[in-house]
């Protein structure tokens, strides 16, 4: 074999061994195997050789070419592998256990509890209504069988406005409007009235950890032919079991509210002890939760519905109280404080 070929081969082998990365290898390939590479250049030195020698020389150069190409490819594989390995090694370990900095928004806890209740009632065919906060004396009292000078008006410390209107002291203030809105459907088409109306209520009283002048209730009514006390108990028990996501025992006690007859105080088995008695329920095993009752005939009549033909039940659930019970909020004033230290914790609870 020609000296020159042998030398070039040795040179190549040495340079190949020295190539440390893919870029170096690529320039090596160009410098040996490229159009102007040194192996190709060897062929230029064939002119002075005999035909015989030319053929042998040419074959040797081609062999070298193949040999070099093969080695480069091999080396390339090797370097690629090394580079991937290097990449893998150079990847830093991230501390996934570090706390997330993602800023989440938050719902007001009343919204969360309200949505849960609404969802349950919607699934049972109730519509969700909204109502204003400023109402008239008629809406809040007269239409609810609480005439002027009725002592029940003293029971509620109502915020009156200069113009004679008032801030609604109970969500029942919407009852008359709801009865009037859906009454024709009941009377003409037999569509039962099933509605809930969550809303803000106001009582003129001093605030402390347990008392607020502004709080949320959710009123519900159902009116149809033959709605009974038995139905009322069923709906209250079902709804409350869904809200608390466990089987809730309920009991009714007589309670006086002018817009229902009979009226009840509804107790539920204590959520903490389940009814055996604990400090939360003052060892009675029961928690007083919501007033309810059969809608008073005068209220139905005032809403344009004949109490001889139709009966209905109504209840008023304290959403604020429910939210406090559910999340263990101790100070009721936190809810209206706007404090994000409190409120930002309530991200979602569907």
């Amino acid at each position: 074999m020609d000296e020159r070929i042998l030398k070039l081969k040795t040179d190549f082998e040495q340079k190949l061994a020295e190539a440390a990365d893919l870029n170096g290898l690529d320039s090596l390939r160009v410098s040996y195997l490229g159009k102007k590479g040194s192996i190709t250049a060897l062929l230029k030195g064939m002119k002075e050789l005999s035909v015989e020698a030319k053929r042998a020389f040419g074959a040797d150069v081609n062999k070298l070419k193949e040999y070099a190409a093969e080695l480069i490819e091999k080396k390339q594989e090797e370097l690629k592998k090394k580079q991937i390995e290097r990449e893998i090694r150079s990847m830093p370990v991230f501390d996934i256990t570090a706390p997330s900095a993602c800023e989440c928004g938050s719902y007001h806890p009343i919204t969360l509890v309200q949505r849960q209740c609404e969802k349950i009632f919607k699934s049972m065919g109730f519509t969700v209504e909204d109502y204003s906060e400023v109402v008239t004396d008629y809406e809040c009292f007269e239409s609810l069988n609480i005439p002027k000078h009725h002592p029940a008006r003293d029971m509620q410390d109502t915020y009156y406005l200069e113009n004679g209107q008032l801030l609604k002291s109970q969500t029942s203030a919407a009852q008359n409007a709801i009865l009037r809105k859906y009454g024709p459907g009941l009377i003409n088409n037999g569509t039962p009235i099933r509605a809930i109306f969550p809303g803000r209520c106001f009582r003129n009283e001093a605030t402390d950890a347990c008392h607020e002048n502004t709080f949320f209730q959710m009123e519900g009514v159902m009116v149809d032919k033959d709605i009974s006390i038995s139905n009322l108990i069923y709906f209250m028990k079902t709804m409350l079991s869904e809200v608390f996501r466990k089987d809730i025992k309920v009991r009714l006690r007589p309670g006086f509210f002018p817009f229902v007859e009979p009226g009840f105080e509804l107790d539920i088995s204590c959520l903490i002890c389940g009814g055996t008695g604990c400090p939360s329920c003052k060892h009675s095993g029961w928690l007083e939760l919501c007033p309810c009752g059969m809608i008073h005939p005068n209220v139905l009549r005032e809403g344009g519905i004949d109490p001889e033909k139709y009966t209905g039940f109504a209840f008023g659930l304290g959403l604020t109280r429910l939210a406090m019970m559910k999340y263990g909020v101790k100070d009721i004033r936190d809810l209206n404080s706007g404090s994000l230290k409190v409120l930002s914790q309530f991200t979602d609870d569907e």
């Binding site: 989440c104 928004g105 938050s106 007001h108 919204t111 065919g125 519509t127 969700v128 909204d130 204003s132 400023v134 000078h149 002592p151 029971m155 915020y159 009156y160 406005l161 200069e162 004679g164 209107q165 569509t191 099933r194 803000r200 003129n204 159902m222 149809d224 033959d226 009974s228 006390i229 038995s230 139905n231 108990i233 069923y234 079902t238 009991r251 009714l252 006690r253 007589p254 309670g255 006086f256 007859e261 009979p262 009226g263 009840f264 105080e265 003052k282 060892h283 059969m294 008073h296 005939p297 009966t311 809810l335 209206n336 706007g338 404090s339 994000l340 230290k341 409120l343 930002s344 991200t347």
Partner: protein, 790 residues
């Protein structure tokens, strides 16, 4: 109100029944009983009647005496006693060795050098009164050694009923009414009250009495002479004490006893001071000293009991000091009356003086009760003071009667209301046990409501349902769902919008929902430099900080931003709440349901958060109504608004709300280093606006052409102005326009606008695109916009 089980058992035999269980059932069927039940005298044992046989002064103590006491065994016991009222021959309560009293067991005890083998007891130590002045006096007739629990009703079960739960039950303000409930619950008969037959006095002269005001429904009176007793029998005092009243003197105690027993307040006047009773109001205010010694201002609306023209008692509330029963009273004029409930209630409020009597009158007592109460009073008076005798006939003026109530209903009415079947016999039995007269013919019931239930709570058929069901027991109800037909339930647009807004703000923009009050926060707003804007006010606010309703939620929200500055250097809060914008033409409040959003940042600059807020509003309009908002600059009209960058938010050409930057004065008071922007929009208007819906357009299969124009916008020209330059120029091939770059210096405001052209039918030629671009460029030049060549 405290109730005594012994007292109840005077009127119904509950022997053999579990009393605690009955009390529990009472709580479920009638009125709420407080949790704590008191077992009076249960722990007391070994206390007997003993006589003091000798008294010696203690040699070194001024207070102590050395006694020898006979407990009936014949042997005398040495006792050291500190009571001041010890005397030889006195009978008293004596706790023998081994006795338990007040939680301790009596053992021999060393007192100043002498050993006491037992203890003489005072009434307060026995727990039967608050009299701690000395040891108990026991009448002579009781044999020595008798266990005092066998002669006095010391052992009793006392329970408390929540007064609020009796609001609508005037008949339950005395033990007799409560006993009727227990009788109904236990299925045992109610005994009649023992009363004096008053007709025997019919021949005697009447009392000079006249009702001159119809706020007095009934006034019954009788005059009694020759009263000698001054101290009440022990059992009467024990009952009064257990039920929360102090013993005063025999006559006053007896009126209180009748009140606690029958619920009828009574008043005893010293007859020497009251000769001609007139019930009336006065024309002018005056002052009056009540028997508690307090001088009170009486106005012309307050009904008074007078002796002629001199007031002697505030009707239904309290007697006067002048005519009070005193120690030498031997003749009394008894009042058993009925007054208008509302009038008593209002007088109570005006006087801010609530008494046991007024509390009862407020509930609309049964006027039929006044005469039996006098009969009962005389019966008890003569039982304990045999010399007492009536010297007048019963004098009774019944001015206003409640109409009797008779109700008719049938079985199907009860079935429909209850949803269960309660049989006719049960209905009859239940109603009769509660004092209703019932006739039952076939399926029909005719019910006469007893007078004590007609004053207030049983006036219609539905009221009867409660009587039947509460005694039946709600725990015994079978629970059933309804059989009403099903219809789809559609949410209102308003409700849907409200919930979507909350989701968008919380989930997409990481804002926090807050709640605030519907009134302006006087103190907090003023501290931040915001004045309280005139608006309708609360008429009866007790807290001066909360008197004016808010016109906007922004000021209250800024107060909340202030309190959260330390929470995070970058946050946004929102609320969907109400504002009131003055009165409408009918004089009613113009209430609006608004969304207020406030963004605060010390990290981002004011421009960034301003545009963040703009994007938030845009997302709301786009997600909920698939529509675009427009913004129109406006003048500041509130002190919290920065005059620059204040815009009206417009939807479909109508005003939806406002977006702006907080005025630097207020902003600086909240946080000098932070930027604050706000927006407020009308949720109702948003909900009421048209939903444009999703308009789908098929993407073109042909290539589109993009053309970028960089332009320098002169001052006071808005994008909404230059937008007009291509609005009508793009034909149907200009498919989209967007800003791809902005460049701002102090003097240059440059934007690069990308125009995207495409056609669903063909490949566009660059010539036709260029033609449109040329027209747009011409339009822009007319607006003094400089086009920068690419």
């Amino acid at each position: 109100m405290f109730l005594s089980m012994n007292w109840i058992e005077d009127f119904v035999d509950l022997s053999g029944l579990d009393k605690l269980d009955l009390i529990h059932r009472f709580s479920l069927s009638t009125a709420e009983v407080e949790n704590e039940i008191f077992f009076k005298g249960k722990e007391l044992s070994g206390v007997v009647v003993a006589q003091i046989m000798s008294v010696e002064n203690h040699p070194s103590s001024k207070k102590l005496h050395l006694l020898k006491v006979d407990t009936g065994s014949g042997e005398l016991t040495d006792v050291v006693c500190g009571a001041p009222n010890v005397r030889v021959g006195m009978k008293t309560a004596f706790a023998k060795l081994g006795a338990t009293i007040g939680g301790i067991t009596i053992a021999p005890r060393e007192l100043a050098g002498y050993t006491s083998y037992g203890m003489c007891c005072g009434e307060s130590e026995l727990g039967i009164s608050d009299d701690g002045s000395g040891i108990m006096e026991i009448t002579d007739d009781v044999p020595l050694g008798t266990d005092i629990k066998s002669i006095y009703d010391i052992e009793d079960i006392i329970f408390e009923v929540d007064n609020k739960s009796l609001t609508n039950r005037p008949d339950l303000w005395g033990h007799y009414g409560i006993a009727r409930e227990f009788a109904a619950l236990a299925g045992r008969p109610l005994k009649a009250l023992d009363t004096e037959e008053l007709s025997v006095y019919d021949g005697l002269p009447g009392v000079d009495m006249k009702i001159e005001d119809d706020l007095c429904k009934r006034y019954s009176t009788i005059k009694v002479e020759n009263i000698s007793r001054t101290v009440s029998p022990v059992n009467i005092r024990i009952r009064l004490y257990y039920c929360g009243m102090r013993a005063i003197n025999f006559l006053a105690d007896l009126t209180n006893y009748i009140m606690l027993e029958m619920g009828q307040p009574m008043h005893a006047f010293d007859s020497r001071r009251v000769e001609s009773i007139r019930i009336k109001r006065f024309d002018a205010p005056f002052t009056f000293k009540t028997l508690d010694g307090v001088e009170r201002n009486i106005d012309e609306n307050t009904l008074m009991i007078c002796n002629g023209n001199t007031p002697v008692a505030i009707a239904g509330i309290m007697g006067g000091l002048y005519s009070e029963i005193v120690d030498d009273t031997t003749t009394l004029t008894l009042e058993s009356a009925n007054f208008d409930a509302a009038s008593v209630r209002k007088s109570t409020v005006r006087l801010s003086h609530r008494t046991d009597a007024s509390m009862r009158y407020e509930k609309s007592l049964d006027p039929e009760m006044t005469v039996p109460a006098i009969g009962r009073f005389l019966y008890l008076l003569k039982k304990y003071d045999s010399g007492a005798k009536a010297v007048s006939r019963l004098t009774d003026e019944y001015a206003v009667k409640f109409p009797p109530v008779t109700l008719t209903f049938d079985q199907s009415f009860v079935d429909r209301y209850t949803g269960i079947s309660i049989d006719g016999d049960t209905i009859v039995r239940t109603l009769r046990s509660l004092g209703f007269d019932v006739e039952h013919n076939g399926t029909e019931f005719t019910v006469d409501v007893p007078s004590w239930r007609t004053t207030k709570d049983v006036t219609m058929k539905a009221d009867i349902i409660e009587e039947i069901t509460r005694i039946y027991g709600y725990d015994n109800f079978e629970v059933n769902t309804t059989r009403s037909p099903l219809y789809p339930v559609r949410m209102t647009e308003e409700k849907t919008a409200e919930e979507k807004i909350k989701d968008i703000l919380v989930k997409r923009f990481s804002l926090h929902e807050v709640h605030s009050y519907v009134w302006a926060y006087n103190d907090e707003q003023k501290a931040l430099g915001m004045k309280i804007e005139e608006n309708i006010r609360l008429a009866n606010a007790t807290n001066p900080n909360i008197e004016t309703l808010r016109r906007s939620m922004i000021p209250t929200q800024l107060c909340q931003v202030k309190s959260n500055v330390s929470y995070s250097p970058d946050f946004g809060i929102f609320e969907i709440g109400r504002t009131v914008d003055g009165l409408d033409e009918k004089g009613l409040c113009r209430e609006h349901k608004m969304l207020a959003v406030t963004l605060y940042s010390r990290i981002k600059n004011v421009r960034e958060i301003y545009f963040d807020l703009r994007d938030i509003l845009t997302a709301i309009a786009s997600d909920i109504k698939h529509t675009r908002l427009t913004f129109v600059p406006r003048e500041a009209s509130h002190d919290y608004e920065h005059p620059v960058n204040l815009n009206t938010v417009m939807l479909d050409g109508a005003e939806l709300g406002v977006i702006g930057i907080v005025h630097p004065t207020i902003s600086g008071n909240i946080d000098k280093k932070g930027s604050i922007v706000f927006a407020e929009i009308d949720v109702q208007r948003l909900a009421d606006s048209d939903d444009k819906g999703i308009v789908y357009s098929e993407p073109s299969k042909y290539p589109s052409i993009e053309y970028d124009l960089s332009m320098d916008i002169p001052e006071k020209i808005y994008y909404s102005d230059i937008e007009r330059c291509w609005e009508n120029e793009g034909g149907d091939i200009l498919r989209a326009v967007s800003i791809v770059d902005t460049y701002d210096t102090d003097t240059v405001h440059r934007i690069t606008v990308r125009f995207t052209f495409s056609s669903p039918e063909r490949t566009l030629s660059s010539a036709e695109v260029q033609e449109i671009i040329d027209r747009i460029t011409d339009n822009l030049l007319k607006k003094n916009v400089t086009i920068k060549q690419q």
